[in-house]
Symmetry: C4
């Protein structure tokens, strides 16, 4: 097997789609958002990407059938822009692997004619979030205007630690290929899977790309999480005096 193998599952009739990436990361915000797009819209699986830098693993489905771990591209047509959605269960396991994978992802995006990309993710605040601000970063300052109109906040030199992983490289390597790339980071505690943060990110995407989504499924997941969050609040306020960093061990 090559370091990376791209399997062509189907071709899609989508016009100048926008690449939307949502791989695992802080609060699983990006992954939740991308998967919600696939659940809410008619989507077509077009490519699978296998990589020796992914874990040596198969996942077993409801029928007991095993499939090699991979990243997937789905094509979605919306009333606004068409989307090419990248999601999966794994990031690369080495620095070099992250660069190699992101290059392969960008090759596929260019093959489909993508000139714009949105990397979806979360940014950790260290405490439970009341208002779900979406932080932005762009490959080109000219992209800021329409995003700020959509409610995205830009803070100088934030996130302080930079943006790491495939999301970061989509901006860094995409920029070098002339792709207009944006990273949308939903604020999230960093301790919990955060469907509300995912929704905040998707609402920005709706505004920027002029399409509309339902949110019932994300709301269901959000309610499940609310119960967990409720318990945490009790522990904190109920004088149980759990230091904040105890939270790191929850959820």
């Amino acid at each position: 097997m090559e370091d990376i193998e791209i399997e062509c599952v189907a071709d899609a009739e989508i016009g100048d789609p926008v690449l939307v990436e949502g791989l695992p990361g802080v609060g699983h915000v990006g992954k939740l958002a991308a998967e919600h797009l696939l659940e809410e819209c008619d989507s077509q699986l077009v490519r699978r990407v296998y990589a020796t830098d992914f874990p040596p693993q198969v996942n077993v489905d409801e029928d007991g059938v095993a499939d090699l771990v991979c990243a997937e591209f789905h094509a979605i047509e919306t009333e606004g822009a068409d989307l090419l959605v990248l999601t999966g269960d794994h990031q690369a396991s080495s620095n070099e692997g992250h660069y190699r994978l992101t290059d392969a992802f960008l090759d596929i995006a260019e093959e489909f004619g993508c000139e714009r990309a949105f990397a979806l993710g979360g940014v950790p605040t260290g405490e439970l979030v009341e208002e779900y601000t979406v932080l932005g970063a762009v490959s080109d300052a000219e992209l800021r205007g329409e995003l700020e109109d959509a409610g995205v906040e830009f803070r100088p030199d934030e996130p302080a630690g930079g943006i790491v992983g495939v999301s970061g490289l989509l901006l860094g390597l995409g920029k070098r290929r002339g792709i207009e790339a944006t990273c949308l980071m939903g604020e999230t505690s960093g301790y919990l899977v955060d469907p509300k943060s995912a929704r905040a990110v998707l609402e920005v995407l709706e505004a920027a790309l002029e399409f509309e989504l339902g949110y019932e499924q994300l709301e269901d997941r959000a309610e499940e999480m609310e119960e967990v969050v409720g318990k945490i609040r009790e522990m904190q306020e109920g004088g149980s005096g759990i230091p904040d960093d105890e939270l790191r061990y929850i959820g």
Copy 2:
């Protein structure tokens, strides 16, 4: 030395053999099972596989003679299907290495004409096992029927963490080559070497491939382990109140 070097030790007159893999893993179930096949049947060493991804190590035999660590293929003729048994002392030490090794193993299997593969292993239950169920996963749903007849259980989306290592990749990469691959996972505590689980797995293999084995040697090893298990039970029931996860430190 190349990343992988295959040493041709002998050729074997076996017809369309079935690949049977048993490398180290949970409860050493797969390795115990594969080694028992070599002890119980007339087997012929046909290939050695050396890899720079194995530990930089030689093992010393009873005569003080050192040999480079490797994986081995043995050919076995049975009254049912012929077998090509893969075993050894090591898995690869990197993600990439697992993919590279499994590809090499499948090349050898195809060279011998294998169209079917069984990956043998264990699945951890976290507690001492009373009834040795064998869990299954397949590369193709059509393979389920005869396995269920042989007593294999298929549970949706299990094992939850997927199947990792060479066993997993034999299904994942084998499937992409058109090999019918099955993973048989004997339930085992995960704390102990488990000859009984190995026997449960082998009994499924006997039924599926229509041959018969003796089990004296595995029974001897099982009796040794019974004593250990007995002590553990005492500790647990004898009010010593050892929490289950203490078990992780035993055996």
Copy 3:
């Protein structure tokens, strides 16, 4: 993307420049010194070096614009020798990467005609430093004379652990290319970012290369650190009995 990619940003009219390296390390001495050179002198960005061995990361600037992490070369003309200053936020993340990166750095240096190189860094003393001695190491014994005149100390077999990372390899690999390479190591506690040590190193560089620098900005940073150091001294002398190695956790 290749393992290493060199972006030509501009060409510079500098004559036989001296390579000056200051990447992150002990007390950030080298990085502080190199960045101070860029702040105090008119400098021109001439090359960017991207590497798959750097973290898979973009950094976000004051405008929210993201750029791929890289190392940078700036050209500086002084009244003395011209300088080619190498700085950045990261070392390589693997042994092989360090060798590969340093080779690329030396290729660029040779392209600009560098025949001399200074690697700037810190050497940890394990305790707060009163007098900022600069320790030296050279690729050729003949380089010692002028450095000793500039106040550099040479101690047999020191630093005991050798010199690690890009600084060390600039000497080791540079020597093999016939480049006269010197490592200037400012003594520093090893617990704190140390602008004073950076200044001590730069003052040697001024003397050796016959140019002059202002130090206002480094002095400002030094004053900030003085407050931290003051607190530490109190803790130590104030009978709070903090063992020295507690310091490891400060700053």
Copy 4:
């Protein structure tokens, strides 16, 4: 720089030399033994081996001159067999690197016409050693006889964990090239640098290769260690009740 670079320092007039390897390992037995050979005999540096798998490091000599870490081959003529002595300060830092390095070492050995190799090292006993037995392992059972005559012990399947690192691979890879390879392992506590164990190993080498060594320098080092050992014994016998594994933290 290539993964491995071999620098030809000098050619040597040695006839069919025996390769003798002593790199860092348990108790530094092999390294002490090889360095003692270089101190006691007239030796000539013939090759240096640089590798990107070594630490990215230079060492500084008594004159403040820095040199890239490497492994070295020295040629020695004795009244018995001529020797090609391999020593250095580092093993490889990855599995693959160990294989690559050992292959390069064997290439050099074959270039000098070596048909025999001795890998020198230590085997940990876990307790202070009274009698310095030397354990042996060979690439071919026929090599045992003369070694047993020289006092080497062969124990079935020992060392239990196999022989790891360059020493192990010299046997494993050397055997595949038709080189008669022997590993001599001096028993040593595993907690301390052990000159006495190094001497025990060298005395076997003297007998096997029919040459003679002085031991003054090793005796001096042994006396230094004796003092440390004395203190340890006091601690153990003096009822201080230090559990044996405390020893792991000494020396």
